[in-house]
């Protein structure tokens, strides 16, 4: 049911993607390997869960939560804010192509007639909603450690 070779390939390509973006974001040199590792773990976990029949949104939430927690551990170990690890680690899961597919659909609406427009509108809406949900899953996942364990009573 789970193809291990496929998961390993997935991890390799996600690690490369995370590294590229980590360099683009100018992360501290000592954190690059950790960023690559988190990119691989998050995306490979999501792919595994999706192969087991989970939806992409739920898989993203699980992947991002794991990235969030490991990110906190790495952050303590290498003395950086967790953001450095969690942002780079979450990048392979960001629904980039869904986001601009939605926008492309919006732009193409101008070239349609009213009978095909309804189908395109539905497509735009589906892509936009999926983008939003996956993004929310990423943000909630990487914020999970602070949401669960660093709670503070409001001051004043």
């Amino acid at each position: 049911m789970i193809d291990l070779g496929l998961i390993l390939q997935d991890a390799l390509w996600s690690a490369l993607a995370a590294t590229g973006f980590a360099l683009l974001f100018n992360v501290p040199v000592r954190t690059v390997i950790g960023c690559a590792f988190l990119g691989a773990v998050g995306h490979a976990l999501r792919t595994t869960l999706m192969q087991l029949g989970m939806s992409v949104e739920a898989g993203t939430l699980a992947g991002a939560t794991v990235v969030g927690f490991i990110g906190v551990v790495f952050a303590h170990r290498w003395n950086t804010p967790p953001t450095v690890y969690t942002i780079s680690g979450a990048i392979p899961m960001v629904p980039g192509s869904l986001a601009f597919r939605a926008m492309l659909g919006v732009l193409r609406l101008t070239a349609t007639t009213s009978d095909t427009a309804a189908v395109m509108m539905a497509e735009v809406f589906i892509n936009a909603t999926k983008t939003g949900l996956i993004l929310a899953a990423i943000a909630v996942g990487i914020a999970a450690p602070s949401l669960l364990f660093v709670r503070q009573k409001p001051i004043v």
């Binding site: 390939q9 974001f25 942002i87 601009f100 926008m103």
Partner: protein
Amino acid sequence: MNLNDVRRQFTLGTDNPNIGPKPPLDRDSLRDVIDLSLWAGQLLLQYGAESARIEHTIHRFGTALGCDWMDILVSPNVIAVTTISGEEFRTKIRRVPSLGVNLTIISAINRLTGRIQRGELDRAGVRSELDRISKIKSHYNRWLVVVMVGLACSSFSRLFGADMAVFAVTFFASSSAMLVRQELHRMHFNQFLIVTATAFIAGVIASTATLFHLSPQPQLALASSVLMLVPGVPLINSVEDLITGHMVTGVVRGIVAGLISLSIALGLLLAMGLTGVSGL
């Protein structure tokens, strides 16, 4: 417990055993404190930190440098701070343009905050450290970044299930586009214009996969070659801000990210119009 007790407890924190009233600062010292903490906040907002981190950092800076309390307003391109010490207070606002993402600077500010809280630095020391941090440039050679960003985008094409031909085309398309992006950035063009132009270049080069029938799924090259433009950090920060209750910055970051995605789509549409390649 009255308000001042609450404030004192929060500002000095539980890790400091010497809890007691702080000596009030005079107006000149307050000016120094507000200047330094605002500078730290400005660097964070410029280089892509989320709003909660900006607020916490400014607060920790100010209170560790001797203030009783800081009131902070983080808005999308302005930070306003009031420092309070005893009966005295000062307020300052600063306009903050966004300058892309630099996680080394955010990490450095984070470490500096810790050092100030442990009492390792006085105000002059903090000033020279902030001066050093604000001059940090990229660690990575621009050609290394070009190659790695190219590899990142072509890795995305593999994640979408593309073959090696599409991998190669995506690599060339996105690394050339990255070079163009760096050059346009150096010439200070408008950010949306840069994104549209870069997506156009990537789209035109990636279309060759379709034009020369290099692969059964050539459209994947088109979809992956522009992924380095996707505003990942604004998108994630936007949702994080909304979750933590920083609604204004959250909404604005979301709109900026939406406009950048629109610019990518526009650039791709222009490229597809020019080359006659359709479908994504």
